[in-house]
Symmetry: C2
Subunit: 334 residues, 2 copies
Amino acid sequence: MSAVGVAPGPVAVVGLGLIGGSLARLLAARDVDVVATDVSPATRAAARRAGLTVADDVAGCVADASLVVLATPLRAMATVAADVAEHAPAAATVTDVGSVKGPVRAEMAAAGLAGRYVGAHPMAGTERSGFDASDAALLDGVRWAVTVDDGTDPGRLATVLALVTGSCAGTAAVLADDVHDEAAALVSHVPHVLATQLLNAVAGAPVRAVALGLAAGSFRDGTRVALTDPARTEAMVSQNAAWVAPALRKVVRDLELVVASLERNGSAHAFFHAADGVRQDGRVPRRDGAGDRQAVERVPLAPGWPAVLVERCTGGAVVVGLTSSDVEVVPAPV
Amino acid sequence: MSAVGVAPGPVAVVGLGLIGGSLARLLAARDVDVVATDVSPATRAAARRAGLTVADDVAGCVADASLVVLATPLRAMATVAADVAEHAPAAATVTDVGSVKGPVRAEMAAAGLAGRYVGAHPMAGTERSGFDASDAALLDGVRWAVTVDDGTDPGRLATVLALVTGSCAGTAAVLADDVHDEAAALVSHVPHVLATQLLNAVAGAPVRAVALGLAAGSFRDGTRVALTDPARTEAMVSQNAAWVAPALRKVVRDLELVVASLERNGSAHAFFHAADGVRQDGRVPRRDGAGDRQAVERVPLAPGWPAVLVERCTGGAVVVGLTSSDVEVVPAPV
């Protein structure tokens, strides 16, 4: 843990599903003082059996917290945020792990927590859900998005970056909410929609039985995330509808051109080669990691440093660590 | 190998790329008499170093063959088919491993090989290509499509089924070319197009650097097959343009409805649940296999048996073996 660390008091994790459960397990494994809770008594019991410190309600969970991590579904956020506003110390920083950031910040502002909030989104998941599927390894060393706005308190941002790059051994892109939500639409929500569409197309086809029998790697990989709980996928996509809809509109326009080209020429050369630059520079990550730590640069914790990080990270740089005087940044690959 | 087996003489594999090379290696490992060739001297040398029996040209490769497997790109098929027609024994059966079947049958007919031809397509592949990437394990025990028409010789069909279910330890769906090509569009070619589209959308986005930095599992899986040689993907899709174009048209229509729904309601419930039946009956294969051999049924090798197989397999049944008197079939899962 860096010198710019979490204030005294435990980290409170509210919500023990896949992500909240994995985070609580990871922090406990790293000897961070963590107290968790969940709305479900059965989940609380399971978390106690797993060795976690568990409070019976949100009030008890956040009462002494230095940092509150909201890991509940978005639909529960307004209620939980009101509890946090009432029961958490004013010094406690509030963050979350939701897959959209603009809508969460709006909920926080509505609950009077705008000044204490820093957004966060760990880029990890599995097809499974619930505390039983949670695993400290799921969030160990992964990339996070950490989102800010003009009013974000630098000390609270440092608290969240210390958690991500210290206890969680991860890396962080510090971004505006909109940039995160647009990027998440492209690399997560649109992929979930297209995976669902691939599955739907086969499910509705006269040759369905044959097609499923012949399905090999490209179909299995292309539909993997569509096989998860479709209600969860629907919720995730709906929460980011403002960015998913225009991104999908562009997908539809592009595919119309491919179809027209296939119908006219039997080919669509430009389409298949449009991403050759990305293929060639090897920028598609095969798995997450800390980047090239050889190339670490230091951003001093001088006035205005959050805005410097946003500018750097929007260009592709990543925060890999935090000291008492600097943020350690790895530049975007050239 | 079953009693209804390959006639005397080696299996000739023409073309030693990923699939041809893997097939030659697998047959050799199973002590099948196999002779292979490739247009590239370097590939022939590599195949000899790998211990395969290699002929210097197509004529030498097929001269004594009982079964000829064409594993060349479709664009080379006309030339190779002419060589086979000239040099292979009239008794030799001709098959192939191409990802589309209607266009290959047309090439065979043009070369005068219609009466000797049975179509075949192993449902396996990797992102890699070429003999260096070939591996006997790639085709060991996989699902094949085997295609016929009204004129297919039953003995030649039996020869190909014996190869697939015997030496290759695989299973086969016996289908009409069109049914295969439509199903392949849905489970292979359309997935390749959508994977390419996902990559293109990020490559062309202003938030490209951020998006690639945040990309996690859904994007990696959704774009895996788009990272392979785009020229190969383009060729595969183009060859089946007649089926890919209408399937993609339907994808475009469905996605337009999703976009409209997201724009209007912020949700798209029906879309996300359209394939719930497929999810629930667990019909999406996680990997290929022989199916439930407990449920084997026997189709006697009586007059008209190929048509019986086509009917059964079009409903989802799979051929798992062949004896001197019967074809062993596993019915479609209920």
